[in-house]
């Protein structure tokens, strides 16, 4: 039984010479979880939004889309659910229960039915404890769960999700993926989700479709697709660690997907782990920032967010601070940037007490902070205006001539991150602070960002980044620190750090250990 079948679908945006997607065809089985992936700009979002006519962009479309062998456009709206990328802006009402009731209200259902559907949807998405809460007070992951639940109350046959996890931390993303898996198993709904974080999602999917430049590059079971794409230079960086290991050791037999499968495969293959080369450890005696027994809390009677933080940030190095959600990472950056004042302990920036900097002096070529939501930095109408002319060092991968007259909001996530980076480094700060710089970026954008940071380091900038992204830390950092319940547990050279941890380490290390 085919829940969705797409044939020869071509879509062209107005005033665009070439189609955004071309001759796309695939079909999905009923009650399956399906993944759509590919590099940024490959047409994933366009394809998803073409399927539901209410969100379809204006443009020229040809081909056929059938759901249960009926034309998709002739079905009632409630048969297809659509979840957008950003959890914040697709929310309509202020309370969780009201958001869940919104779609059934639109369908004109009686209160008893609305009550039943809301309760069921809240249950399956784990929202029962927050049913009466304000949505603005929930975490990002909970907000996205509300978005999914508010679509489920329509009881759709097909659920489409456009990069729903891109603004979520890894744990919330994983929760979302697993709740979708459970939903598919229990209700028989068909799900098509686009996502670029594959390691978690790929192994639990029934099938995967890879897109490239508006066409389908490969499709089939996750293992088949990975085996086909692992030799492809464009797709390799986004593959799960097990696939990378599989590819590097010859790739004979069934392609492993999870860390566990990868470990089993690696043991049986008898290959020797290859030592990754790290930059030689430098003696860096000077410190850019010194935190001594720093304590911080938001209100007098609230708990400590930072308790007894001791951290010395070495001058001229990239330090990555990793740790789970709520461990105080963002607060730590705020203390370093001087926007949050510690109530005890001492903070010294370049040897000078942070409190003795004059107002404004700290931000004048000294410290700069790149916030998690870079879009809050953009105040002007074009990229060129935003930076006041072309900066000296445009990072590799940022096509200045093509992008200079665009509105900052029209750039891709990776380009926005680089623009934000250029903006905060315009005054050549000596200490650069980054808050979750890789959130929502695809593999290629991460590489570009990593190169840009290394370039800044060569020019003498000290960098502190807080991140969930262990692979990114492994790639760019000289030193790594682990933050746990508001204090620094360890601070070591990256190599030692990754070797000594068994969970806070890269997936590849977990496999080849």
């Amino acid at each position: 039984m085919e829940a969705l079948s797409v044939k020869d679908l071509t879509f062209t945006y107005p005033r665009c010479g070439s189609p955004a997607i071309e001759n796309v065809g695939f079909s999905l089985g009923e009650g399956t979880l399906n993944l759509l992936f590919g590099p940024t700009g490959c047409g994933k979002s366009t394809l998803l939004s073409c399927i539901k006519k209410e969100v379809r962009p204006s443009g020229e479309m040809s081909g056929e889309i059938k759901i249960d062998s009926r034309d998709a456009d002739s079905l009632p709206q409630s048969d297809i659910g659509f979840v957008f990328q950003d959890p914040e802006h697709q929310t309509v009402t202020d309370k969780v229960w009201h958001e869940l009731a919104f779609a059934p209200e639109n369908m004109g259902l009686p209160p008893a039915e609305i009550r039943r559907r809301s309760a069921e949807a809240a249950g399956v998405c784990g929202l029962s404890p927050f049913y009466e809460e304000k949505i603005s007070e929930l975490s990002g992951g909970q907000k996205q769960a509300v978005a999914v639940a508010s679509v489920l109350t329509m009881r759709p046959k097909l659920l489409l999700l456009d990069e729903p996890a891109s603004s979520l931390d890894p744990r919330s993303a994983s929760n979302l993926f697993w709740s979708l898996r459970k939903l598919v198993n229990e209700t028989g709904i068909t799900v098509l989700i686009s996502e670029h974080r594959l390691s978690e999602l790929l192994p639990i999917c029934d099938s995967a479709i890879a897109m490239e430049a508006g066409r389908i590059r490969a499709s089939g079971t996750p293992a088949e697709v990975c085996a086909e794409l692992m030799k492809d230079r464009d797709f390799f960086p986004m593959m799960p660690a097990a696939v990378k290991v599989f590819s590097a050791t010859g790739g004979q037999g069934e392609c492993p997907l999870t860390v566990a499968e990868g470990r089993r495969y690696f043991k049986n293959s008898g290959a020797k782990p290859e030592e990754k080369e790290y930059p030689p450890e430098q003696k860096l005696p000077a410190f850019a920032a010194e935190l001594k027994s720093v304590m911080f809390r938001y209100k007098k009677d609230s708990p400590d967010i930072l308790s007894d933080v001791c951290l010395n940030v070495r001058k001229g190095a990239i330090t990555c601070v990793v740790g789970e959600n709520g461990s105080g990472k963002t607060t730590l950056l705020g203390v370093l940037a001087g926007t949050k004042k510690a109530y005890a302990g001492s903070v010294r920036i370049f040897g000078k007490k942070i409190s003795s900097y004059a107002p404004g002096e700290l931000y004048d070529s000294c410290v700069a902070l790149l916030p998690q939501d870079v879009r809050t930095l953009f105040l002007r109408k074009t990229v060129a205006e935003e930076l006041g002319g072309k900066p000296e060092n445009v990072p590799e991968g940022f096509d200045w001539d093509k992008l200079r007259d665009r509105h900052p909001y029209d750039l891709s996530g990776g380009e926005q991150e680089l623009l934000g980076l250029m903006k905060v480094t315009a005054q050549a700060p000596k200490l650069l602070l980054l808050d979750e710089p890789t959130q929502g970026l695809d593999a290629r954008s991460k590489q570009m960002l990593g190169r840009a940071l290394k370039k800044l380091k060569e020019n003498g900038t000290t960098i502190v980044a807080v991140t969930h992204d262990i692979d990114f830390a492994d790639d760019v950092a000289d030193r790594c620190a682990l933050l746990f319940r508001g204090s620094i547990i360890c601070e070591e050279p990256v190599n030692t750090f990754m070797d000594n941890n068994i969970l806070y380490t890269t997936d590849v290390r977990k496999i080849v250990r």
Binding site: K52, E54, V55, Q77, S78, G81, F82, F84, D86, E88, H89, Q90, T91, V92, T93, D94, K95, W97, H98, A101, F102, A103, P104, E105, N106, M107, G108, L109, P110, P111, I114, R115, K134, I135, S136, S150, V151, M154, A337, T339, G360, Y363, D364, A368, L369, P371, D373, R375, T376, L377, F378, L379, R380, Y409, K423, V424, Q427
Partner: protein, 291 residues
């Protein structure tokens, strides 16, 4: 046993209209006094000490309003003494006392209303008039705090990137303008997504129903019937002249069996919240002892 504030919002709203409007239009200090005392009792039961402290404040206010009135109003036939050649009359003094009692009962019940009628309940009441109106209300309840939070965040980031480096007034104004217009374009950009997400969930598809999560139960009907009957009797007795004092030119108080019945009705109606709170507590204690 239900709590008073768990009644259906529409029944509650009608109740508040009764207890607030009737003493306001019937100039009868005994009605106002009954309403003030019962309302205050409920407030003290709900909020404890801080509400009890208010009693003193209300008494002072009443004293002030009462003694001030005769300074401005010189009607009445019983002068107590003369001040700058103007009569300070007994009638005006009594009128002041009655008016201040009305005012205090109004303040007390409005504070009870604002505590009981949370935004969800008001939404449920408004949706009687228009489901669209209530949706606009809930959307603005969400959008306004979101906008201000974004404004603050953007401004902080702008400060940290040196937008306000020179502290002159013009640079501050220019900076604030840039921040404001950026947040407006952010809001417009997101409005587009919100609109799409609404359409994707069938907003423009047809007639909307309005869901509030509140169920109208038998006890709501009983509550509504009881209070409405009491209110109807009070209105009747006010129109028929059994309640309502006369102050000018001379003081006259109503009397008779119907007047007393009207006061009993008023007391019964206004005492519902306090009585339910007491009943609820006793019931709760008894249930607890069975655990």
């Amino acid at each position: 046993m239900r709590d008073f504030d768990s009644f259906h919002p529409r029944a509650l709203m009608l109740y508040f209209l009764y207890v607030i409007l009737i003493p306001m239009f019937v100039r009868d200090p005994i009605l106002a006094g009954i309403s003030a005392v019962t309302g205050m009792t409920y407030r003290i039961m709900k909020f404890g000490r801080p509400a009890a402290r208010n009693v003193l404040y209300f008494l002072l206010l009443a004293l002030l309003l009462t003694t001030i009135n005769p300074l401005f109003s010189h009607n009445g036939v019983t002068p107590l003494f003369y001040l700058n050649g103007n009569a300070y009359t007994l009638e005006a003094l009594l009128y002041g006392a009655a008016a201040s009692m009305n005012f205090i009962s109004l303040v007390i019940w409005c504070s009870v209303l604002s505590h009981v009628m949370t935004s969800d309940k008001l939404m449920c009441v408004f949706s009687v008039f228009s489901p669209k109106l209530s949706l606009i209300l809930t959307m603005s309840l969400r959008a306004v705090p979101l906008f201000t939070a974004k404004l603050r965040e953007t401004k902080e980031n702008a400060e940290a990137t040196g937008l306000y480096k020179s502290a002159t007034a013009t640079s501050r104004i220019r900076g604030n303008y840039a921040v404001f217009s950026a947040v407006v374009s952010w809001a417009l950009e997101n409005g587009l997504i919100t609109a799409m997400s609404m359409e994707a969930r069938g907003y423009f598809a047809g007639r909307r129903s309005s869901y509030s999560g509140f169920r109208f139960k038998t006890s709501d009907a009983v509550f509504l019937a009881f209070t409405s009957a009491a209110a109807a009797f009070e209105i009747f007795s006010a129109i028929a002249g059994h309640t309502g004092f006369e102050f000018y030119p001379s003081f006259a108080a109503p009397g008779g069996a119907l007047t007393v019945t009207a006061y009993i009705c008023c007391a019964a109606m206004c005492a519902v919240p306090a009585a339910m709170e007491t009943g609820g507590r006793i019931y709760w204690k008894r249930s607890l002892s069975r655990i």
